[in-house]
């Protein structure tokens, strides 16, 4: 109980033999000594909380982030290994266990970040993630495109360099030579004068007794050997032969299966329940009412209604039995809410300026509008979106008198541990979490609702329970990218120069800078109003950028058109003080041959969005025939400062683009009678092979602070697509998804009226 066994589950970095377990501590000494017995296996030495070295000189990096497809575990390992001067062919990684030593707070404010200057771009995020949360000690979050730019830069590189210094110090003591005369390369120590060499493994035990430095000397970019290389991801072979283990693949002795249905109207309750037919079915073990649940905190903040679950000998039995349960739900006040009513409420609240708060106010917008030659106004909107990870939500739990064991694939293992402990009313020390590969995460798997359900079910039936949500439940009980209305107004002078930019929208989350624009507009007033709905919010890949990227980059295109200018040239002219942005935009325009004309029916659109510390420009080419849009090609350029793994960042761009394209073309969760109308991939569609455009990616290593990779590809695809549709048809798409537009009708209409 409580023993971390992830190592054997993941299969990476398993080392044979029996032997040493040594550790180090942080304050004072080396914290690894306290946790070494749990984390180091046979013959391994935990030299630093993030590094183990075994007797065969294999270096294993403990990565405090989980894997949902983004490949950050490999990139983080590259960062540590490079600073350590490790032999890459002898480097492995394991996911760190759900322990407080690997919490972001401990890793960050607790010690490693002490005396470290943060990059300006990440300070608000770090403070937001760590300091605004009362329970920051329980956060081990993978999200916010933070892994490489925060954990990588401030933990993994520091840990690698510190461990190298500890090994050098240990060798210097033993050899009785100055530390400065010892060099390192490929997991070896050298002392040239005395012609002595040793493997890191030879000094691992001695090094582990040394206190790691918080501020070791880090390499400069020209000294990188492993960073900046496209290395093969270590998790990929197992993902081609069925051996990669996801949480749903866990099978325990005596395990039974469950599935669940929560009140369809968010926050609803069970009024009456008739489960006679279900209980009579062969294989059904129990029908269980699950209480409403809630949890506070910036990440993992949620509240849910009541649920009914069936526990049975098979998921299939449970699913059929649940269908036969007759449930009357009580929806209270929200039973009449519709998407139309929600957008009407948004519009009213924007009109009324309800509790308007400003993101930025610069210059004098009022006088700019008063003296404008042309005032442009537009409302933009996006619907709610579900995450639809390929792997539907699931969790396996075994709750007994000894405590609770959880098998999950989640974005916050430590947070899950504490949340589930809270739901069970037991001490977190009595909950163990085995985290697995996630079959997609995108923000959804930071919330522990299914894990709580599984734990409560296991406690009720006194057996290990694997809870699997149906896809329908997954779509209807998500925590959604919010529906948003955003109202714009721009002032142009007689030469087509934009003098003022005014924007008011509903629903503000993170990152705070999402609605800001990089363009040189003298007067701006950007703010938001409160307009709460009963639909639960969740972080969705790129969070607020997912809507504001579409809004601002579409409206700036409208402004360019109104000014009679080319959308690319118009943007470029407003970026004279933003050389990084301009370089990215130019590169995209050049690579896409922006100025070459396209035949009738085809169009080209551009977007530029900075998010999570990275700048991305996209040029999209579309063909619109008989009102049907096909996306032919996407050229994407990213400046993430420095690409740790160029192929990794390219893959993330491709992924973010397709994720955003699915939303732009098809994504819509609509609300009727207080509940979600969609249910599965037939009515909540995804881009498939035939619709997927050719994607060409380019990387600029500007040398700026390292930016994120997982999310920045997503915000720019919708506006570039909408702008391309405008270019092809003259129809301005101000509302997503595109499938709702009858481009055929609009074309006919515009021709008839022109």
């Amino acid at each position: 109980m409580g023993k971390w066994t992830r190592r054997t589950i993941l299969g990476a970095g398993v080392v044979a033999g029996g032997g040493l377990i040594v550790g180090v501590a942080v304050r004072p000494g080396n914290i690894a000594s306290e946790i070494g017995s749990e984390i180091a296996g046979d013959n391994e030495t935990l030299v630093h909380v993030y590094v183990k070295i075994d007797a065969d000189n294999v270096v294993t990096v403990l990565v405090p982030h989980s894997e949902m497809g983004q490949g950050a575990q490999t990139a983080l390992t590259q960062m540590l290994a490079d600073e350590l001067d490790a032999d890459w062919s002898q480097v492995r990684f394991e996911e760190a266990p759900a322990r407080k030593e690997y919490a972001m707070y401990a890793a960050g404010r607790g010690y490693l970040f002490k005396n470290v200057d943060f990059a300006d771009a990440v300070v608000p995020s770090i403070d937001g993630m760590m300091m605004k949360v009362a329970d920051a000690l329980h956060m081990q979050v993978t999200g916010g495109s933070m892994s490489v730019r925060v954990t990588g830069q401030y933990c993994m590189r520091v840990a690698g360099a510190a461990t190298r210094e500890m090994l050098v110090k240990a060798a210097a003591n033993e050899w009785n030579v100055p530390e400065g005369e010892i060099t390192t390369a490929d997991s070896q120590l050298y002392h040239q004068a005395s012609k002595r060499t040793a493997r890191y493994a030879d000094f691992a035990v001695a090094a582990a007794a040394i206190t790691p430095s918080y501020t070791p000397k880090l390499k400069s970019a020209d000294e990188f050997k492993i960073m900046g290389r496209s290395v093969a991801r270590q998790d990929i072979p197992a993902k081609t032969d069925g051996t990669a283990l996801f949480a749903m693949d866990v099978q325990l002795p005596g395990m039974v299966y469950a599935t669940v249905r929560r009140a369809p109207v968010f926050g609803g309750r069970i009024e009456r329940l008739d489960d006679k037919a279900a209980r009579a079915m062969s294989g059904v073990i129990d029908v269980v009412k699950l209480p409403a649940a809630s949890e506070q905190g910036m990440v993992g903040n949620f509240s849910t209604g009541e649920s009914v679950a069936v526990v049975a000998d098979s998921y299939w039995t449970a699913q059929r039995a649940l269908r036969s349960v007759n449930i009357s739900w009580r929806a209270d006040d929200n039973g009449g809410v519709s998407s139309e009513a929600i957008f009407e409420q948004f519009s009213n609240d924007i009109d009324a300026g309800t509790e308007r708060a400003t993101d930025t106010v610069e210059g004098d917008t009022e006088s700019a509008f008063a003296t404008a030659d042309q005032v442009l106004q537009a409302d933009y909107r996006v619907p709610y979106l579900a995450h639809t990870c390929m792997e539907p939500l699931n969790a396996t739990a075994h709750v007994s008198d000894d405590g609770a064991e959880l098998w999950v694939g989640c974005q916050n293992p430590l947070g899950f541990r504490h949340t589930v402990a809270g739901a069970l009313g037991i001490d977190a020390e009595r909950v163990s979490v085995s985290n697995h590969f996630m079959g997609g995460g995108f923000g959804r798997k930071a919330i522990a609702d299914a894990a709580i359900q599984a734990a409560l079910l296991s406690r009720t039936v006194k057996r290990p329970v694997q809870l699997i949500w149906s896809r329908e439940e997954d779509v209807r009980q998500d925590f959604y990218r919010p529906a948003v209305l955003s109202r714009f107004k721009a002032a142009l002078d007689k030469d087509g120069n934009v003098q003022a930019w005014e924007n008011t929208y509903v629903d503000k989350h993170e990152p705070a800078e999402a609605p800001l624009i990089p363009y040189a507009v003298a007067a701006r007033n950007i703010g938001h109003v409160k307009s709460p709905t009963h639909v639960p919010f969740g972080a969705w890949r790129s969070v607020d950028h997912s809507q504001h990227g579409f809004f601002t980059e579409s409206f700036i295109d409208e402004v360019a058109v109104a000014a009679g200018k080319d959308p690319y040239a118009f943007r470029a002219a407003l970026l004279k003080d933003k050389p990084r942005h301009l370089a990215v935009l130019r590169k995209a325009a050049d690579a896409a041959a922006w100025n070459t004309p396209l035949p009738e029916g085809r169009g080209r659109g551009v977007s530029l969005q900075e998010s999570f510390g990275s700048i991305v420009a996209q040029v999209v080419e579309v063909t619109v025939v008989n009102g049907e849009t096909s996306v032919d090609r996407v050229v994407a350029v990213v400046d993430a400062g420095f690409a740790i793994s160029p192929d990794g960042i390219a893959a993330q761009l491709e992924s973010g683009i397709i994720y955003g394209l699915t939303a732009a073309l098809y994504g819509e969760i609509s609300i009727r009678d207080g509940a979600v109308e969609q249910s599965n991939f037939h009515d909540y569609e995804a881009v498939r092979m035939a619709e997927a455009p050719e994607i060409e990616t380019h990387i600029i290593n500007s040398g700026a602070d390292i930016g994120g990779a997982g999310e920045p590809g997503t915000p720019g695809i919708a506006p570039a697509l909408a702008n391309a549709v405008y270019d092809a048809t003259g129809v301005r798409v101000r509302s997503l998804p595109l499938k709702r537009f009858d481009l055929n009708y609009r074309i006919t209409e515009s021709e008839a009226t022109s």
């Binding site: 949902m68 497809g69 990929i236 032969d241 390929m390 397709i658 498939r688 092979m689």
Partner: protein, 176 residues
Amino acid sequence: MISFSVNGTSQMIDVDPSKPLLWVLREQLGLTGTKFGCGMAQCGACTVQLDGRAVRSCVTPVSAVAGKEVTTIEGLKGENATLHPLQHAWIEHQVPQCGYCQSGQLMSAAALLAEKANPSDDDIDRAMQGNICRCGMYGRIRAAIKSAAATSSTALFYNAAQVQEQEQEQEETSHG
């Protein structure tokens, strides 16, 4: 009792005949490489081969496979665990991200290549249209299928050329 073969091994299973093959594979046979994604043949994560044809196991009642040969991702490797050319290509092109859909993608692609050694883009579109990848790795999947096809057909071509050479040698020998 229903009997069928899975990856070359005969199975006799006492099960409700209407239970979907997916759950028999996962729950009863412990073959968890085949994934649950939607339960209504919309996403392809559960794709297996039935007598060499790609089918969605989440909507295939186990009764429908009686007496037939089922191949799952666990059976895609060749003798002595040699990787299938597609598995090689998947690694070479670094296709998977989260990896959850990839068993289904590979089983669909393998069925395609078995039928058409050199598929066109349209063939790939048609054969792969039932498999969703929410990580959006379609470009890499397409490239990997083509590169596996090229490797396989190069190998075939190479073998054919060798055979031809040998035949020519034999001919020359017999003429000489």
